[in-house]
Amino acid sequence: MAQELAPLVRDGVRILVLEKGPRLADEEFTGRELEMADALYQDGGAFLTRDGTMTLAFASAYGGSTVVYTGTSLPPPQRVIRAWDVPGLDHGDLTRRSAKYAEQNNVHPLDDRLINDNNRLFVEGGRKAGYLVEQFPVNVKGCRGSSLCNLGCPNQAKQGTNRVQLPRAERAGVEVVTRAEVLRIEPDRTLRVRVSQKAAGTKGAPSEWEAGDYQVQARIVVAAAGAIGTSALLLRSPLPAPRSLGHGFTCHPALILVAEHPHPITNDVGHPKSYFVDHAESEGFVLETCMYFPFVTAKSLTGFGPAHSAIMQAFPRLQMILILACDHAAPGNRITVNRAGNPVVYYRFMPETIKGLVRGTRAAARIFFAAGARRVHAPADPTLLEAAEAGRLEERITARHFQPGMLGVSAAHLMGGCGMGRSAADSVTDAWGRVHGLPWLRVADASLFPDALEINPYLTIMGLADRVAEAVRRDARDLLGSGPHVATAGA
C-alpha cells in the first residue's frame, strides 16, 4: 500500500504510515522461541478467542504478519473469488496484481537441495497415499534453512513487506512511525494516535516520534491493521460504519499433527513449509508441511503426561503436518471491541469446520504411515496410534475427540470483518476497499475478504491492497483538493 501510494509524494502529498508494532534491527532476530514470540506477536502469538477455545497468531511489528509467516505465496483460487461474488472484483485482475508482488518479492519454488526430510516424507507419503502433493512457491532470497520463519527470519532471507515494500516506500519519501497506535478515527478525519515509549529490556528501536498522544489530520485514511486490528479500529471510531462491520470473521482453524519415525530426520533445519495437499473444495481441509518449536509443539499436542512426553522426547524423529480447516463466514463469528476498545473475537466451531479437521487429521495420519512413521499422535483415545492401526483411522479418529477446549487449535489466517460487497446492506466496503458512505476511508488488508480464501492469503492480500492503492491514486485529486495534505496508510 505504502509503496504504491509513494508516487503521490512527488506531487507534494505527505504520506504517513502509523504502525503499532516496533521496528526490529536485523541482529535482534535471534530465533529464540519465547523471546521472539513476545517481541513480534500480539499476546505472544496466543490471542485468545472470547470462549478461550482457540488462539490467534498475528504479528505487531514493522511489516506486520509478513515478518512471521513462512513466505508461502499462492495466487488467489478462481473458485473462491467467483464464490465471493463481489461486483467489480475480477479473478484475472487480482491474479495479475498478485503476480506483480510475486515477482517483486522473489517468489519461487525452493531448490530441491534445500528440501529437508520432513518435507520429503510428506511428498513421498502423500503420493503413496494417493494425494496430489504440490510445492509452495516461497518468497525467500538466500534462505539458509534456519527453519525459524515463524519467529522472524534471523537471516533476513524472507522477502516480506518489511524487507521490500516498506523500505522502498520510505526511500520514496513515505514516513513510517512505529509504536504508533491509532486509537480512533474521528468523523472529521482526525486520527487520535498514541505513540508508546520503548519499554526497558524489550526489542526494537524507539519510535520515530516522541512518546505521547497526537492528533493527525488526514484527507484520506487507509486502514491496514489486519482483520482484527482494522475491524477493531473502525468499531471504536465514531463513524457511520455499515452494520456488518466486524462480521464474517474466518480464520482456517489449524491443528498440528506429529508422527514419530524410527530414525532421526532433518526437521528443525531447512525451510519448514515447502509442500501442501489442497482438499479444500472436496473435503474442507488443506494439509501443509510445518515444523514448530518446542513449546508450540508441546501445547499443540493433545493430552499430557507420559504419552505426551514420549512424543516430545522423540523430537529429532518427528514429522509434522499442519491441518487447516476451511471454515466459512457464520452468524456470530465476529470481531467486536470491549469497553476499553480492545478487540474481542467471537468464534464458534461450526459442524462442517470440525468435520474438516477430522477428515484432515485422518488424511495426515494416512500420509504419516505411508511415509513410514511408526506412530502418530492425534486427538484420539489413546492419543498414540500405532502403525498397526493404520487401517482403523476412521474408527480411531472421530469428531468426539475434537470438542472445543479439548485440543490446541490455533489460527494465523485471520480474514473478514470489513468484507467487500455491493452496498452497506451486505458489506463494509466496495471492491476497491472504499468504506460504503465514507469515500475518504479505505481498507487494505485481509479484513476485506467476504469469506475464507481456503488457501494461504498473503498474495491475495497484496493483490487487493494494490487495487485499493490504485483507487486512492485515482481519487486523490478529488479527496485531497489542491496543495499538500496528509494521507495515512496503515493503522
Binding site: 530465533g31 499476546d43 477455545t53 534456519s146 518449536f293 508441546a298 522426547q313
Partner: protein, 127 residues
C-alpha cells in the same frame, strides 16, 4: 497459585519436571509468572480461581487435596478435567496445561534435552 499446587500439576503434565532442581523450578516459574502478568486482570483472576479449584476439587472424591494425592490419582483428576462436559472446566485445564508446557519447554535447556537443534545458521550449522 501456591508452589505446591503448581508443582503437583506440573509434574503430572510433564513427568520430567520431577527431576528439575530448585534453580530450574525458579526458571520455569518465572516464565509462567511473566506470561500471566502480560494477560488481562480478569484472566489472571480466573486462573488463580482455577488453581484453587484444582487443589480442592479432589477432596470430594479422594478426601485429599490435589497436592497430597499420589501421581496416579492426580493424573486421573486432570484427565477428568480435560474431558469434562463443561467447557469452562476443559478450557481452564487447557490454560493451566499451556502455561506449564510454556514454563517447561520454553527453557533452552529443555529444548536441548529433547534434541531440538534449530540454529539461525541453518544447514551450515549441521555440516
Amino acid at each position: 497459585m501456591t508452589p505446591s499446587v503448581f508443582r503437583a500439576v506440573a509434574t503430572c503434565v510433564v513427568p520430567e519436571a520431577g527431576g528439575l532442581d530448585a534453580a530450574q523450578w525458579d526458571e520455569m516459574a518465572a516464565i509462567v509468572a511473566r506470561a500471566v502478568a502480560a494477560r488481562p486482570r480478569a484472566l489472571q483472576r480466573q486462573l488463580a480461581l482455577f488453581f484453587t479449584l484444582l487443589e480442592w476439587l479432589p477432596l470430594l472424591r479422594y478426601g485429599r487435596r490435589l497436592s497430597r494425592l499420589d501421581a496416579g490419582r492426580r493424573a486421573r483428576v486432570l484427565d477428568r478435567l480435560q474431558r469434562a462436559p463443561v467447557l469452562l472446566l476443559r478450557r481452564g485445564f487447557w490454560g493451566v496445561r499451556t502455561l506449564i508446557l510454556m514454563g517447561y519447554y520454553g527453557r533452552p535447556a529443555a529444548a536441548a534435552a529433547i534434541g531440538y537443534r534449530a540454529d539461525p545458521r541453518g544447514w551450515e550449522a549441521r555440516r
